[in-house]
Structure formats: structure tokens, C-alpha cells
Symmetry: C2
Subunit: 374 residues, 2 copies
DNA sequence: GGACCGACTGTAAACGTTTGCAGGCGGCTT
DNA sequence: AAGCCGCCTGCAAACGTTTACAGTCGGTCC
């Protein structure tokens, strides 16, 4: 049916071996033969059968991405980063997302196993036991956003703790002394790390301050509930730090409804910098995660691992690489009313600022910008 | 290296043929033999080599998705729809997105060719010439959001025209007589269809009304510019209809800056229902596109085409299938001030309303809700 | 002029599966 | 008791590539 290498060989009056060599850019094929073969292949619209090739070469030129059920900008940015990097390296991307539970994730993983050279895994269920159970030792894999205890796999993660720490420090620097935290779901690692970062900063910078943690689950509704609850308190906190932007936005609704003005009556900050954060009233101060970068770097590292395996080299030691998030200062934190952001300038890590398109953002990076590798 | 079917056969003391039949659920294998083989395969952690299988079966169980450079919710929803449907049908998803120009798209397409059973194409460059040039006749494919003249391929598209028509009709029903339109980029099909739908409604419902079309390019900035320009007019239109939400939001900023109140001074509507639309002040009336549905249906149809091809059936005639968008009524259109939404009830198509979570949305569907197939 | 060498090309094996075909074996029918 | 039939199993070919190895051919060196 389809045209194979044999058809090309017959038509070009050479052997299949020569066709293969000519088309794959091997040396040892006469230039005129090569161009002739290429011409014939193009004329016949020859498409190599990648399965046959994979069978003999034992590589698929495909990496798999196993992702959780995600929405919006976070998902699209992550994919963009992975996809771009994959194409740059000549790999295809096999995607499996939207897994609701551990079983689904396991099934999806199993289904990918024969078909990929490496695996990028981002999953709340990918704990060491799960990995041990379902992932062959020999398949190069990278974990994204894990820190699920320790696994044998290398990992890349956003430094949630540092991000939350820096935000809380910023709030303190703005003059807020009484800071409440709206937490994410119990058992969610991101949520717990953010809480921890907040508490660390609190204890360190405001010794003796009481911990005020309100429950939430990352949903807008839970933010709304937390906001209403807080608005009813006798003694209002100075500032609210929500573990993600969605909750911050829900909270903002509740505060508005209660007649409280942000940031005049109470300051507010979020985490993630979802696009909507720029458009709330007032615009939301938050923590930005460079998501596309996260995906791209993960892929680059995975490809390196695949290459290392094939050339028989020992893989470099499994490291967990942390990506620093950056503070995005808008007006909801009240910094312009209490103290200028300059207060943060005494922090030990170097900071950079730049004006961006919107005009109302001020970004601060907590570490020097690294030059892009490659 | 890896464990193959032969290893399983040797270990289970049967032939490879029996292993194959046992594992693939063929009939004609004794129950006890089957379970024994399964046990051995599991113990050995046997993973079938999918390339070898593809080679002989001539199917990859993979469909490719060729997508343009997209951001945010639209992208993630589309992928979600496709991914879910693919998994339900037992197909893998090979993704290639973020293509900036026709050459890049062609390269990505070529790279997919040997590896997929079918192709889902959404690309501004996928015109009939491009298709003819790069896509083999024999590969089942479906176009998403095209209507690029006519191609030999079946297609699924959002009915931009109808959506814009219905929105303009709604604005007219709200009492607005003087409606300006902020257009999308020239040459963009979505943009042109939306403009056309608006103009159709205008001419039909307000005969003799003058066309007021302001240029834009779908970016927030262009919406802002359009808004400033309109705010400076001697005679303000009653309503503004932006060809997408981003421009509507930019425009809203400009109107606010100019001291105009929405909807009291001027009504505003958008298109797409991006998440941010719920959070603007006032919340934005817009047109919702059920994107995940679009992706899911496209995949279902593609799989049907693949199956048809394999069973040798003639494919059903290539149809373009239109998906109706739905009106999302919030307060920016001023409907509650001029006329109640009930005015729309005389429209010929059936409408349904429901309260949604947010409490401030009223959705109207312009056609009856179809039961989910399967 | 013969041996050797280098550049190129062809032959054939191998990759891991699926599946058509044939054969074995037990039980049932006549 | 012989034949038949149906269930189950094994043998071996085939899928389309890549690549080790062998071979051809013309030229160069002694």
C-alpha cells in the first residue's frame, strides 16, 4: 500500500541499503547517487515507517509527558516550554494529562511505557512507592514539582517555600505586622511548602507573632469563604497571604462584599501570577513562577539523561533542581501606602527590577538571572 | 536487554504465538494457560515493544495534534478535550504546538507523518494548497476551525458568525441602537467571521444603521487604543462589541480612564469568555465557546474516520460541522438597565438558562442541549 | 603489471511482534 | 471402533528498516 524503502530502491535502481544511507545522511554514498535517491524519494512521497526504524534502532525519538489535571495558563505554559524544547532537540512529545487519581495515572503510565525514550512526570501521586511499582528502572525519567520525600529520580521543582518566604518578608517590609495565611489543601505538597515558607518568614522576622492560618483548598470558593470568615473577625489582620491566586481572588470578592477596601483596610497577596491577577481591583501582588522555563529545562535534562544512557555513560548524580520564583509587586499589598519597595533592598540576594508592558508591575527576582543554557 | 515476548514464552513454557494470543485477549487460548502467561508476563515486567507491533499491524494507536501557538485557557481546554477523548478511545496523543509560521508547521507535520494513524489540524496556515502539498491523501485528518475555502478534509468549527450575530441581536434587544464593533486582525478568519456576523445582525435588525468598525488586532493594547479613540468621539455609541475578550478588557481600561461608566454610559461586550471576563468591573458579557467539546468531538470524528479507513468502508461525505457558541450574560451589556433579557425570548431558536456557580452568570444556549454521545 | 587501497554499493541478518496455517489430541457420533 | 470435529497450540513468515560484512571497481604505488 504505502511506499516503502524498497519501492524507492527499485525506482532509483539502487539497493535499499543505499537508499537508507542516502536519506539518513551517512557518509560513503556518492553525491550524485544521494541526490538522485532524494529526488526519487520526494517524487514517490516516501515516508519512512518510524515503527520499523524504532524496532531496529531501539529508540523512538519520543518523550512522554505525564501530567495531572491542570487548567489555564499554567498548563499551556508548561506544555509550551516542553514542546519547544522537545522540537529543538528533535524529539516528539507524547502527552497524557488530566489524571484524576493514582490508578488513572498508573494506567496512563503503563500505556506509554513501550513508546517513549524518556518520561517527564508531574503528578501528585508519583510518590516513591508509585514510582517503584510502575516505572522501569531503565527508563530515564524526570520528576516535576515533587519533593515527595526522596526518590531515585532526578527532579525539578519550583521553590514554593522560598517564594512564600520572600512574599511574607515583603509584607513585613511593607509594615504589616499581623499577617494571616489562607492555606491550600491538606496533603498537597505545593500548599504545604508555601505554608512552611510563610511560617518560616513569620517566625524569623516577627518573633513571637501568632500564626493565623485559615483553611482553604486552592479553589476560588474556599478563598471566598476564608475572606468572609476573616472579615467577621473582631480584630482584622493587616495583611492576607493566600497560598494561590484563585483563593486570593475569591477572598477579594468576600472582602469587597464586606465593605473592606484592599489595600487600605487590609493588604492581600497571592501566589502563581495567573493572568487574572493583573485585572483584579486592585491588581494582585503575587509570586510568579516561570512555568515554560520549568518545562523546557526539565525536557533538556531528560534528553541529556537519555543520551547518557545510550552512550553508556553513567548518569550524573540525581539532583533536585530548584527554580526560584519571583515577586510581582502590584498594588494589593499596599506597599506604596506603608513603605516603598525600597525597603526590600536590604535583602541579601540581588534583586532586579524592570518595567513591563502593563506599567503597573514591578518584578523582583530573588537571584541573578541565569543565562539560558544553550 | 529488555524482556521480550520470547523471554515470556520460554519462562512460561509455551510458544510466542500463545503468549501473544493470551496477552491480547484472543479467543482460542485455554483459560489456565492464559492466566499463567499473564502471571509470568507480570512477574517479568514484560512491556510489549509497540514499534514491533505497529510494524506488523500497521497502526500506531496514536493520533497527532498539530496546533498553533496558543495561550491560556483556550489551549488547555482544547487539549483536555482531545486528550480525554483519545484516552477513552484507546489512542495516544502526539502533540506539536506553537508553530509560528507555515514552514514550521510543515516541518512539524512531516515529522509526524510516519507516526500517527490520524491527524487533527488547527492551523492558520492549513489552507487547501498547504494541505495538498504536505498531507498524504491516505491519512485520515480533521481540520479544526478552518473554513479556509474548501478542502477535501472534514472540519469542525466554532460558529463565530452565529455567535457574533446573536450577541449583536442581544445588544439590540437591550435597547442599544448605535453599536460600534472593535475588529480583530485583517486576514484572521475568526475575526472576519465575527465581524460578518455582527454586520449581518446590524443590517437585518437595524436597517439603515451605519457601520462603525474600529480596527484592532485581538491584543489588549489594541482594545485599549480603540477604547481611547471611541471615548474621544463627539457622539458616543450606545454599545461596543469587541471581537474578543482581550480587546474588550483593554477597551474597558480606556473607558474607565476616560471617566466613562460601563454599562451606564456605554455598554460593552466581548467574545470568547476567557476566565478573566468574570472578574472585570463590571463583569463582561461575552460569547462562550465550548472548547473542550470542540476538541473531544474532533477526536471522536477522527477516530471514526480511522476506523472507517481500516475496515475499508468509504468515509462518510466530508462535512463541516459547526459548533454553536453560547451567550454569557453578565452586567457589562447593560441589559438589566434597559430591558430584561426576556426580550431575547422571541428568538426563533430555543434557549435555556441556568444559574451557575458564580451566581452572576446567565447562560443562554442558542440550540437545544444535545445528549453526550456515548 | 600486479598488489593494494579507498570509495562506494549490495547482500542479508536482525529487531519483536502478529497471524495464517497446520497439526495434535480428546471426545462424541455413528 | 473408526471417523470426525473442535479446541487449542506451535511453526514460520511477514512487516520495513538499519547496518555489519563482503564485494566491486578504478586508480596508485612499487
Amino acid at each position: 500500500m504505502a511506499v516503502t524503502i524498497k519501492d524507492v530502491a527499485r525506482e532509483a535502481e539502487v539497493s535499499v541499503a543505499t537508499v537508507s544511507r542516502a536519506l539518513n545522511g551517512r557518509v560513503n554514498v556518492a553525491p550524485e547517487v544521494r541526490s538522485h535517491v532524494q529526488a526519487v524519494a520526494a517524487r514517490l512521497r516516501y515516508i519512512p515507517h518510524s515503527a520499523a526504524r524504532s524496532l531496529i534502532t531501539r529508540r523512538t525519538q519520543t518523550i512522554g509527558a505525564l501530567l495531572p489535571d491542570m487548567h489555564g495558563e499554567f498548563f499551556s505554559e508548561l506544555i509550551r516550554g516542553i514542546d519547544r524544547a522537545a522540537r529543538a532537540k528533535g524529539y516528539h512529545l507524547l502527552l497524557s494529562s488530566s489524571h484524576g487519581d493514582a490508578d488513572e495515572t498508573a494506567t496512563a503510565l503503563q500505556a506509554m511505557l513501550g513508546r517513549v525514550d524518556g518520561l517527564l512526570i508531574m503528578s501528585p501521586y508519583a510518590d516513591p512507592g508509585f514510582i517503584e511499582e510502575h516505572l522501569p528502572e531503565t527508563l530515564p525519567s524526570i520528576l516535576l514539582n515533587p519533593v515527595h520525600g526522596h526518590t531515585r529520580l532526578p527532579a525539578l521543582a519550583v521553590d514554593n517555600r522560598k517564594g512564600a518566604y520572600v512574599m511574607t518578608r515583603h509584607l513585613v517590609n511593607c509594615g504589616h505586622r499581623d499577617i494571616a495565611f489562607i492555606a491550600g489543601p491538606k496533603g498537597n505538597l505545593d500548599a504545604e511548602e508555601r505554608l512552611q515558607g510563610h511560617l518560616d518568614a513569620l517566625h524569623e522576622l516577627l518573633p513571637g507573632a501568632s500564626e493565623q492560618v485559615v483553611a482553604g483548598d486552592f479553589s476560588e470558593e474556599s478563598g471566598y469563604r476564608a475572606g468572609s470568615q476573616i472579615a467577621r473577625l473582631q480584630r482584622l489582620p493587616h495583611a492576607l497571604f493566600a497560598a494561590n491566586d484563585s483563593m486570593a481572588i475569591g477572598c477579594l470578592f468576600a472582602l469587597n462584599e464586606a465593605g473592606l477596601r484592599v489595600p487600605a483596610d487590609i493588604a492581600l497577596a497571592g501566589f502563581d501570577d495567573i493572568p487574572t491577577a493583573r485585572f483584579t481591583q486592585p491588581p494582585l501582588t503575587t509570586v510568579r513562577v516561570r512555568i515554560a522555563d520549568l518545562g523546557g529545562r526539565a525536557l533538556d535534562r531528560l534528553v541529556a539523561a537519555v543520551a547518557a544512557k545510550e552512550s553508556g555513560h553513567r548518569l550524573p548524580p540525581h539532583r533536585i533542581q530548584m527554580l526560584d520564583p519571583e515577586l510581582v509587586l502590584r498594588s494589593s499589598c499596599g506597599m506604596h501606602e506603608h513603605r516603598s519597595a525600597g525597603t526590600d533592598a536590604h535583602e541579601p540576594v540581588r534583586t532586579t527590577r524592570k518595567r513591563v508592558r502593563n506599567g503597573s508591575d514591578t518584578r523582583m527576582r530573588s537571584t541573578p538571572v541565569k543565562p539560558k543554557t544553550r
